[in-house]
Symmetry: C2
Subunit: 364 residues, 2 copies
């Protein structure tokens, strides 16, 4: 069977796949309500929050759009802090809906520097909200969100965090770090298929929502909250993904949050050591900020990473993914989040080691 | 097993449920591309169109929002033609995003009258687009879309159609009737779970899209089209729902479009005759416009429809749904679309007949 090692969609456990063979039920009935309430409660535990948590039907990018249109008004000054494609996307969405965005960008492979954020906030007192990426999937960088959040909250700004590829896999403490809005997606560390985006909303965020004037209907947090109070969603939800998460979240709670974080740390470390042992370089500039859910790698000189991936897939059934944006055709990326163990990483590294010589490079 | 007789989500065939146990695959790989291209081609056949067809991850309401923000600019004059909750919702979305909406509303149970639409269009030459509902799920009315579309296109207006609960079940000829945008949802007649909205886009619609200034990112048709050209979606799609439709669409094509329409006509007729035989009244005013996917019924005087449904569910495992909007607590509704046969309708009618006496009414 294929070893799917991309940063989402991630493989689902057998029990989760089987859960989706359950027949459709009434999404306005008692059985679904109990399920949605259970999933919401489990998600709150794993988001480490007492804030409201909303499940909306859509991709992670839909969750990012939802956060923007529910928090901001056209003309609002927003600081976008970005170190890659997903940080840039967040800024693009805000601009599309009329926010006045100041971009603070960090070089490829670098993390977002809290001091630079502090300075940017001091420079313009009019900034209302800050957009941050916890784990930048395009470069394999995990920002020091605790430190970044501290700077943002000391300046008393609204803090909106893309935690799509970190939450549930890498420690992300919504309440302790005062994240006003934190977004994730079902196909990342949650061991479920794509189709749901999960978003926590703090009291401060609700206040911002009330004042927000960007147009919203499908993504409207108020509607979602009102329906959640009766165990429903305003619009027909992706029921099978709720079935899946109803099982996968229990598996996660059984493994234990700290154990999950430790497992991801171990798998990230194993991946990085493995590629470095072959003489390859990581995209992340300082390993202190290396992501435990995704590793981005520079191929050897003169090796086309997309051709290399093709060999790995065709010959060894290991599926990696390529670069995005300016890194398209230049790097390759390993996903090691959700259902992943040492055997899967070993298998993927073996495939890489065996494939490299076919592209003219002998690993160390 | 429960007889789920609501107008979506509808029961899925065994083969479709089993299809979702397939492991996740790379949504940017060849296997998924082939699947998405196949699903898109089959949907075009069943939409009876050569127009572009886009699959977006979201509920049907998301598809309605997508249609609005891709076709219109703030301030655009729009005629909303509504005979129920879903027609009103379409107008609400357009207003939310800044359209200048004129509402042409028809009474509960009535269909939308083409002559009235013609007059409304003559009254204001500035109207740019018309919003229509093919099948009004809240009252069980199927509008004469061919006649309505003719009036709209003779006036040379952009025609945006909510065909969520009709397409694939009731004849809806996108190309022949010149529907510029037609929207459906995977959980309706398509025998698949909720999570995808499918939208056809005509050449005229693409021109309107180019001129449209409402803010769009997640729902942006241009991005969806650009990615579809390589067999992908811009954002991670609801993969399992694509797996499901990849099977259910083949089943639909095997049954044959005309046979599907005939089956729905027969089941609609059977449902209506059944409830009338018990002395109950339909919500639809003129049976000529009765829907073949959903039947809305007035309960006998002094019978609470929600309590009646509870008896049907608890005692006979038949699940109907209630009224929406001003009809909440006043009517009940049968869904008979997608995977449905005469035995399922007979079972539901039997349950109704047996439940009515417990609520003080003896069926004729």
């Amino acid at each position: 069977m294929e070893n799917l090692r991309i940063p989402g969609p991630t493989p689902c456990p057998h029990e989760v796949l089987q859960a989706m063979t359950k027949q459709m039920i009434n999404h306005r009935g008692a059985e679904f309500s109990a399920m949605l309430n259970g999933v919401t409660a489990d998600l709150k535990t794993l988001f480490q929050t007492k804030n409201d948590l909303l499940c909306l039907t859509g991709s992670g990018t839909g969750g990012m759009e939802a956060a923007i249109v529910n928090m901001l008004s056209p003309g609002d000054k927003v600081l976008s802090v970005s170190c890659g494609v997903f940080g840039d996307r967040f800024a693009d969405i805000a601009r599309t809906f009329g926010a006045d965005v100041t971009s603070l960008k960090f070089e490829q492979g670098k993390d977002c520097d809290p001091d630079a954020v502090k300075k940017a906030l001091q420079k313009d007192a009019g900034i209302k909200a800050v957009l941050l990426t916890h784990n930048e999937t395009s470069t394999g960088v995990t920002n020091n969100l605790a430190a970044l959040a501290k700077v943002v909250k000391e300046a008393d700004k609204l803090l909106i965090v893309d935690a799509i590829s970190s939450m549930g896999s890498i420690d992300c403490q919504v309440d302790k770090w005062n994240l006003d809005v934190a977004i994730s997606g079902s196909q990342k560390g949650w061991m479920a298929p794509p189709g749901l985006t999960m978003i926590s909303v703090s009291e401060t965020a609700w206040k911002a929502h009330t004042a927000s004037k960007m147009p919203k209907f499908y993504w409207d947090f108020s509607r979602a909250k009102k329906y959640l109070e009766k165990g429903q969603t305003p619009w027909t939800p992706a029921i099978t993904v709720v079935y899946a998460m109803n099982v996968s979240l229990k598996m996660m709670l059984k493994e234990g949050m700290q154990n999950i974080f430790a497992r991801h740390a171990k798998l990230g470390d194993m991946t990085r050591k493995g590629v470095k042992a072959m003489g390859l370089k990581l995209v992340v500039a300082d390993e202190k900020y290396a992501s435990n859910t995704v590793t981005a790698v520079w191929p050897p000189a003169n090796v086309n990473p997309d051709n290399l991936r093709k060999t790995m897939r065709d010959k060894y059934e290991v599926v990696l993914t390529g670069g995005q944006g300016t890194l398209e055709g230049k790097i390759f990326r390993f996903g090691h989040l959700g259902m992943c163990d040492e055997a899967a990483i070993k298998d993927a590294l073996d495939a890489l080691r065996k494939s490299l010589p076919e592209h003219g490079y002998s690993p160390k």
